[in-house]
């Protein structure tokens, strides 16, 4: 082919391709489906088939109190099938499956709840799912909470972002946790409250709850309070030395625990269990401090404007300490009212030690304040004196002027 012919061939070819566009071809062949999205999922149907193993397990082995040896083997198969099923539905990225998958969280099999969280994460939750997802974030098993947190982070929307920020998993493990009994720490729990696992830790003296339905915990604590309500900032200002002492005492306790750990000879790393336990102990010393700081931060976007009721105030050394109090707030992410019971976890003696240093600081601060007050008063007196002098001078000048005018006969 000559160069001139090639040129014509390409021009002609391009023109033909331009006129016969691919969409034109496909649309001409199927006018009824133009613009239609592929329907990947079948509609809900009551007669969706159920795997015989799943059906048998649910019939013979599900429910409380079933302790049949054959169920153990069946349970493994049941879990494997369901995990595969959850992966199948998750891979469709079809939102219509989310409600069905969410119901798997009502099963006791931890692996299934984790797989369900992964499946919803694959589909991608949205803000409209948030009410359904909130309870899932408070599973009794730490590893499920971790999976749910990951699932939430895969979603899109401001409500989900807020929920993600609020639900930071603090622990790991597959053993279900039990809500701690606040009464053991001398604290009353408001009726119709749900315990929040990740926002509670008795070791740092914090137990958190959300109010169920429309109950208002403020009414309950108002009746029990010795003092309050205070705005959180007001409380922090009024009891700043007490809170500072407590923090200092905690630091000392943490340091002591760290020193104790140094004395213990680390186990042989080949003994994996002992070594893991040892490492966990080391990590937990620092983690507690961090978790306390996190729980006491009360970011306004998550908790609104908290208020505080003091439930017990006790004299330790030379100061009176709020040893038991409750912080009430709006759980913005959970769309509910919430509260955190707080109590002092350090012994009185440690507080007294910390107090000695802070008392000196307080005295210094008082002296400084006194000095400031005196200086301020002196300044004010000086100012008023100057003002007086000015007034007198003005008066004198005016009088002199008037006299002069008189003398001159004006």
């Amino acid at each position: 082919m000559k160069p001139g012919e090639a040129r014509w061939a390409i021009i002609t070819g391009s023109l033909i391709l331009a006129f016969v566009s691919p969409s034109l071809l496909t649309q001409a062949a199927s006018p009824s489906t133009a613009g239609q999205q592929p329907a990947t999922a079948a509609p809900a149907s009551a007669d969706d088939p159920v795997d015989p193993i799943v059906a048998k397990f649910l019939r013979d082995c599900s429910g409380k109190g079933v302790k049949d040896a054959s169920c153990d083997k069946l349970r493994n198969d049941f879990v494997a099938i369901l995990k595969e099923d959850l992966l199948t539905l998750g891979a469709t990225a079809d939102r219509q499956y989310i409600p069905d998958i969410a119901r798997i969280f009502r099963r006791r099999e931890v692996e299934l709840r984790i797989a369900a969280a992964d499946a919803i994460g694959m589909i991608g939750p949205e803000d409209s799912d948030v009410n359904m997802l909130i309870p899932l974030a408070n599973d009794a098993v730490p590893d499920v909470r971790q999976a749910v947190s990951l699932m939430i982070s895969r979603g899109k929307g401001s409500a989900l972002t807020l929920l993600k920020e609020r639900t930071i998993p603090m622990r790991t493990g597959r053993t279900p946790e039990k809500p701690l009994d606040a009464a053991k720490f001398g604290l009353p729990v408001a009726p119709d409250s749900a315990y929040l696992f990740d926002s509670s830790d008795a070791a740092i003296g914090r137990l958190s709850y959300v109010a169920k339905g429309k109950s208002d915990p403020a009414q309950f604590y108002k009746a029990k309070a010795k003092k309050g309500p205070f705005k959180l900032e007001e409380f922090r200002q009024q009891y700043r030395f007490q809170l500072q002492d407590e923090q200092e005492a905690l630091n000392q306790a943490q340091e002591a625990a760290g020193n104790e750990m140094k004395k213990v000879k680390p186990p042989d790393p080949t003994n994996l269990q002992a070594f893991t336990e040892y490492m966990e102990k080391i990590a937990s010393v620092g983690a507690r401090q961090g978790s306390r700081i996190f729980l006491d931060s009360y970011q306004p976007n998550l908790f609104g404007a908290p208020s505080v009721y003091i439930l017990e105030e006790r004299q330790i050394g030379q100061r009176s300490y709020p040893t038991r109090y409750v912080v009430l707030y709006q759980e913005q992410a959970f769309r509910s009212l919430g509260y955190r019971l707080s109590w002092m976890t350090v012994p009185d003696d440690t507080i007294k030690t910390a107090q000695a240093a802070s008392l000196a600081e307080e005295k210094e601060e008082l002296a400084r304040k006194k000095e400031d007050d005196v200086a301020k008063k002196r300044g004010e007196a000086l100012e008023s004196l100057t003002k007086k002098k000015d007034d007198q001078q003005k008066k004198q000048f005016k009088k002199g002027q008037a006299d002069l005018e008189k003398e001159l006969g004006f």
Partner: protein
């Protein structure tokens, strides 16, 4: 005047062809790669259309409890020859559409989803979680 219009239009087309930007001539490889890309895009669209129609057929057939709808096959019969004519290099890639394997694959995937949903629904209907009480924040 109308007699003059036709030759004028032809002349204009001729001039346009002559003045066609030489870029398409400068690189025949470029044109070929654009052509290949277009064929791949086209093939993707073809599969999506088949998938959508097959789902629709399935819904219709399930509703009527009979195999009466075959829009996907009709579509394949119509558009496949055109596609093969335009993109002969992709003829091998769409074999599964011709021999029906793609339909089988879609049907198998649908059955798998149905079974998965059936299992999950049945399991969700049998709650036995010990921590169920703690999940009821909003109730």
């Amino acid at each position: 005047m109308a007699i003059l219009r036709m030759p004028l239009w032809g002349l204009s087309l001729y001039i346009v062809m002559l003045l066609w930007p030489p870029s398409s001539l400068a690189g025949p490889e470029k044109a070929l790669s654009a052509y290949a890309e277009m064929c791949t895009d086209d093939m993707g669209k073809l599969y999506k259309q088949v998938e959508a129609l097959e789902s629709l057929d399935n819904l219709n057939n399930e509703a009527k409890k009979a195999s009466v709808s075959g829009k996907a096959q009709e579509f394949i019969n119509k558009s496949l020859p055109k596609f093969k004519e335009r993109c002969p290099t992709e003829a091998n890639s769409i074999k599964d559409l011709e021999n029906g394997h793609y339909f089988q694959k879609m049907a198998a995937a649908r059955e798998k989803r149905k079974k998965a949903r059936g299992d999950i629904k049945a399991t969700g209907d049998n709650p036995d979680s010990e921590s169920f009480e703690d999940l009821s924040l909003q109730q």
